[in-house]
């Protein structure tokens, strides 16, 4: 039996439920515990023996290319492009020319560890099957769709809405043979999308589930970014370690001696933390973040290149990249209520959301549930009310 050393990473989607954070950065580039999701995926694949990586890119693809070439310079990465977001099956079809007979497929926008990949491959190699699909038991099967198993074989994978709340769900790690491409050709396109899971019944051989005992998180909603960051830090610190050492504060960050940095805070390279600033537990600062004097940041994620000016207070807040939070601006913590995909999500542990490049002026008060869109400018002194979304542009 030959080793499986090629993997296709599906990273073309936007991650619409994370909007408006995803305007400029696709979901695989969203940071949890200070690392873009796709880094966990690449680490998992490499640790599981994958040497050739094919990444299907689409929405804001250059962000993924630019990041991976810098972060994984020694890895053999091939990029193929999905021009229109026409489903996971269509995405995989783009990689058809770039894969050998047997290969791994993973979602590029879910956090996984090497165990997920390794055990799925082992299950595939341990029996004569056409494909293996990694599944997990979940209480939120209605979010993901149920995997129907009969006599140890997968028959169908139901839609999100179908199936019970409790059940086996598809976690987006597969091993396929190249027969999947024939199956995809026979699969019906539904609502304009060709779904990878819809092709499973069309495979000529047996499809079996793998139940790997590994890490799987899907940061589907903005508040998940905060929650999963905490879970990774407490339960899986090895996923954010550099080599053997767990780097909390990057060497190149400059922290004033009077600043307070609590445990469970991650500070990226090039950050500047001014006098009297307080970084409380659960906070992550991406690279080159500047925190002004006497600002307090509590359980918040701040994206690369963002400036938080003096005396600002942020709690349970997700801030994108290259944004500005003005002097004395406040964003109190959750719970907040958010409408996503036309559904109201109440009492989520998220205060407010500030997208990439937004400029929140001095003394602005953000209420729980406020969402500031990319490039939006909130003039100083304004209050952005509950559940209010400020789209791109200027609020007067």
């Amino acid at each position: 039996m030959t080793d499986i050393t090629t993997a296709v990473v599906l990273a073309a989607g936007e991650g619409a439920r994370l909007r408006p954070l995803t305007r400029y950065r696709p979901k695989p580039m969203m940071a949890v515990a200070n690392r873009p999701i796709i880094e966990y995926v690449l680490d998992a694949l490499l640790a599981a023996g994958v040497t050739d990586v094919v990444v299907v890119v689409g929405h804001q693809r250059t962000r993924i290319q630019d990041h991976l070439m810098q972060r994984y310079p020694a890895v053999d990465v091939t990029y193929v492009r999905q021009h229109h977001q026409l489903g996971s099956g269509d995405a995989l079809v783009q990689a058809a020319e770039s894969v050998p007979e047997e290969f791994v497929v993973v979602n590029g926008d879910n956090v996984i560890d090497a165990t997920m990949v390794r055990e799925t491959i082992a299950r595939y190699q341990g029996s004569d099957v056409a494909a293996t699909v990694a599944v997990a038991r979940s209480d939120s099967a209605h979010e993901y769709g149920t995997v129907c198993v009969e006599n140890g074989r997968i028959t169908t994978i139901l839609d999100r809405e179908g199936g019970d709340a409790h059940g086996r769900i598809n976690v987006g790690v597969y091993v396929f043979e190249d027969t999947i491409f024939d199956a995809l050709e026979r699969t019906t396109v539904r609502s304009g999308e060709l779904s990878l899971t819809d092709a499973i019944p069309y495979l000529s051989g047996t499809v079996v589930p793998a139940v790997p005992d590994g890490v799987w998180y899907d940061p589907a909603y903005p508040w998940d970014l905060l929650r999963i960051t905490e879970q990774i830090q407490s339960a899986h610190p090895e996923l954010v370690s550099e080599g053997d050492a767990f780097v909390r504060i990057d060497d190149s960050a400059r922290i004033h001696e009077t600043a307070v940095v609590e445990e469970d805070v991650l500070v990226g390279p090039g950050c500047d933390i001014s006098a009297g600033a307080v970084l409380r537990a659960g906070t992550c600062l991406g690279s080159d973040v500047r925190i002004g004097a006497n600002s307090v940041v509590n359980r918040s994620l701040i994206g690369a290149g963002t400036t938080v000016r003096a005396s600002a207070t942020l709690c349970d807040t997700v801030v994108g990249e290259e944004a500005t939070i003005g002097e004395g601006a406040t964003a109190p913590g959750g719970p907040g209520d958010f409408v996503v995909d036309g559904r109201l999500h109440c009492n989520q542990q998220l205060g407010s959301l500030v997208s990439d490049r937004a400029d929140v002026g001095a003394n602005v008060a953000l209420s729980p549930g406020a969402r500031i869109g990319p490039d939006a400018r909130v003039p100083h002194g304004n209050t952005v009310g509950e559940s209010l979304t400020v789209e791109t542009g200027v609020v007067r």
Binding site: Q60, Q65, L68, P73, V75, G305, T307
Partner: protein, 606 residues
């Protein structure tokens, strides 16, 4: 400008030599060739044209050997033909030589050798070298002594590698041209530049001028000018081979344009503190430049435009600074003394003209400072101090990210210079520092939203392309035009906006789009008048401007929008838009964007 590769060790050398040449193709690509040492003696294959021609020839698999030398050529003496391609041999065909650089006294040497009965087959300066070695061999010298004696009579700048039939070794030396040694597992490499062997090893030995190295499968020996065995430190490079891959982009140039946010972050990281408005250049603490009263910036090509940018920033803040084309500076240097600082700007640190400018003042009490991308390059060794731009490897012949990194590095350096020399800070320090810190994000924003592609397509087929700007936007106009002509082969010129009506205006018609660069500063009003002048002659105007240049945006026929920033730094952003315009125009025209005709990445001849 040429590239050399050498490979010595276990196994067959052909594939690794070709791979090395491919990675050096940016240094020149008129012709290429390799020579191998094997059972039947010295075998040579060389072809005019791109490396593909040589590869096709070698694909038959007829040529083998574990020791080989290779060369990719950019013509200086004699046109690109099979005969003029390297390697060159002596009369017997037993000695083969590759060479980068220029042998200045080759005419005399050639005449002497011809008088002794040597027969020459090419028009190159290089061919004297194998014949010189041959005559040493005839006198009974060992290959190594014959090589050393040949090198002793050469004048000029060169890096040379030679093989001699019957000796399982390569002999090499350098004088004024780059040559680095790579130490792999059971094999060794020599090359003009590290990417040639980076996929096989990251352990590198930088050879010094005058060093002669003998490389065998078992190891290597370095001897200095006096023939004494010396130890040269083995250093590890932190580039990886895929740093020089294309990462899913069609061209290195586009990849490198997109790398700018990352490159600029590395450039400014740790050097700019926008919260306390301070700069930190470790090797140059405050006071380093006290006592300096005049600055000369010397550079060539794109680096000149970065130097001019710095000149404008320095003079605006009360420092007496001037920028010079290094090639001119070397031949006609202006007055300089102990209070002069010469800043030499070169991406590669190997630019021959720039090195010549620095050498022209060596031995005087003038202080010199290198601003370069390459650690260990000749420029860093010849200047009193160095500041690195930290842009990472750049492969596209047309410089993109290194210009932006040069400007930002020089801007940080300018703050130190202005403070040390005048006692004040750069005007509006707070917003200047804030803008420096924000530059990586601003470039990313621009890249995400740029309309350069459709604009480039719209104006394709024009008679000529003009670029105008004033103050710090003047070098950007020159750089925009340089980039455009380099890769599109279309006629493009940059002018100071004020100069337009003193001549160039005669060229302006409805078929010559004019790109006008606006800084958002006080000088915009004047540039706007110049825009109206060209519009009156029917020329379409593309304003490269931010929203703070509202009048310009309203007046122009088309706009390439840049994020709002400090007026001094607007030019960096405008330049990125112009890089994209040049790229998309060249791509539409089907040009060889990464290897434009007649050009080489770093020009190591004067």
């Amino acid at each position: 400008m040429c590239g050399i590769t050498v490979r010595v060790g276990d196994g067959d050398a052909v594939a690794e030599l070709l791979g090395g040449l491919e990675n050096l193709e940016y240094r020149g690509y008129d012709s290429a060739g390799i020579a191998l040492q094997n059972d039947v003696g010295v075998s040579i294959v060389k072809r005019e044209g791109r490396l593909d021609h040589l590869r096709e020839e070698l694909d038959s698999g007829s040529l083998h050997g574990s020791i080989g030398i290779g060369h990719t050529r950019w013509s200086t003496h004699g046109p690109p033909t099979d005969e003029n391609a390297h390697p060159h041999t002596d009369c017997t065909g037993e000695i083969a030589v590759v060479h980068n650089g220029i042998i200045e006294n080759y005419r005399e040497l050639r005449e002497e050798l011809q008088a002794d009965g040597h027969v020459f087959t090419s028009e190159t300066d290089t061919e004297v070298i194998p014949h010189l070695i041959e005559s040493g061999r005839e006198e009974g010298l060992s290959p190594e002594r014959a090589f050393r004696r040949a090198v002793d009579v050469l004048e000029g700048s060169y890096a040379i590698a030679a093989i001699v039939d019957g000796t399982d070794a390569v002999f090499a030396t350098r004088q004024g041209s780059p040559l680095v040694l790579g130490r792999g597992a059971q094999k060794y490499f020599l090359a003009s530049d590290i990417p040639a062997f980076l996929e096989h090893t990251d352990e590198v030995v930088y050879l010094k001028d005058g060093d002669v190295v003998r490389v065998e499968t078992e190891g290597y020996t370095v001897t200095n000018v006096d023939g004494e065995v010396v130890t040269r430190e083995v250093e590890r490079v932190d580039w990886s081979p895929e740093d020089v891959g294309k990462a899913g982009y069609d061209h290195y140039m586009l990849k490198e344009i997109h790398e700018q946010p990352t490159a600029l972050r590395q450039t400014v990281r740790g050097r700019v503190d926008s919260l306390s408005n301070d700069v930190d250049l470790e090797a140059f603490p405050p006071g380093t430049f006290s006592g300096i009263d005049r600055i000369h910036l010397v550079a060539m090509g794109t680096s000149t435009h970065a130097a001019m940018y710095a000149e404008s920033l320095l003079t605006e803040n009360g420092v007496d600074a001037g920028s010079y084309l290094a090639g001119e500076y070397a031949t006609a240097p202006p007055p300089a003394g102990p209070c002069t600082l010469v800043i030499a700007v070169s991406q590669s640190g190997e630019t021959a003209d720039t090195l010549a400018a620095v050498r022209s003042i060596q031995g005087t009490d003038v202080r010199t400072l290198a601003v370069t991308n390459v650690v260990g390059s000749s420029l860093t060794r010849e200047c009193d101090g160095s500041v690195f731009i930290r842009a990472g490897p750049e492969i596209g012949v047309a410089a993109t990210k290194t210009f932006s990194s040069q400007v930002l590095t020089l801007s940080v350096l300018a703050e130190r210079l202005v403070r040390d020399i005048t006692g004040h800070s750069i005007e509006n320090t707070g917003s200047f520092f804030e803008a420096l810190s924000r530059m990586p994000g601003d470039v990313q924003r621009l890249l995400d939203d740029s309309s350069a592609r459709s604009l480039a397509e719209k104006y394709l087929g024009s008679d000529a392309y003009f670029f105008i700007g004033r103050n710090s936007c003047y070098p950007v106009a020159l750089e925009g035009a340089l980039k455009f002509k380099e890769i599109t082969y279309e006629h493009a010129e940059g002018f100071a906006a004020s100069e337009l009506k003193h001549g160039p205006l005669a060229l302006v018609t409805s078929e010559t789009p004019v790109f006008a660069i606006f800084s958002g500063g006080d000088d915009d009003t004047k540039t706007l008048s110049n825009v109206k002048e060209v519009q009156a002659r029917g020329a379409p105007v593309v304003a490269v401007a931010s929203n703070s240049s509202r009048e310009a945006i309203e007046q122009a026929d088309d706009v390439l929008l840049i994020p709002d920033t400090h007026p001094v730094l607007s030019g960096v952003l405008a330049n990125v838009q112009l890089q994209l315009v040049a790229y998309h125009a060249a791509n539409e025209l089907g040009r060889a964007i990464d290897k434009p005709r007649n050009l080489a990445k770093s020009v190591t001849v004067e």
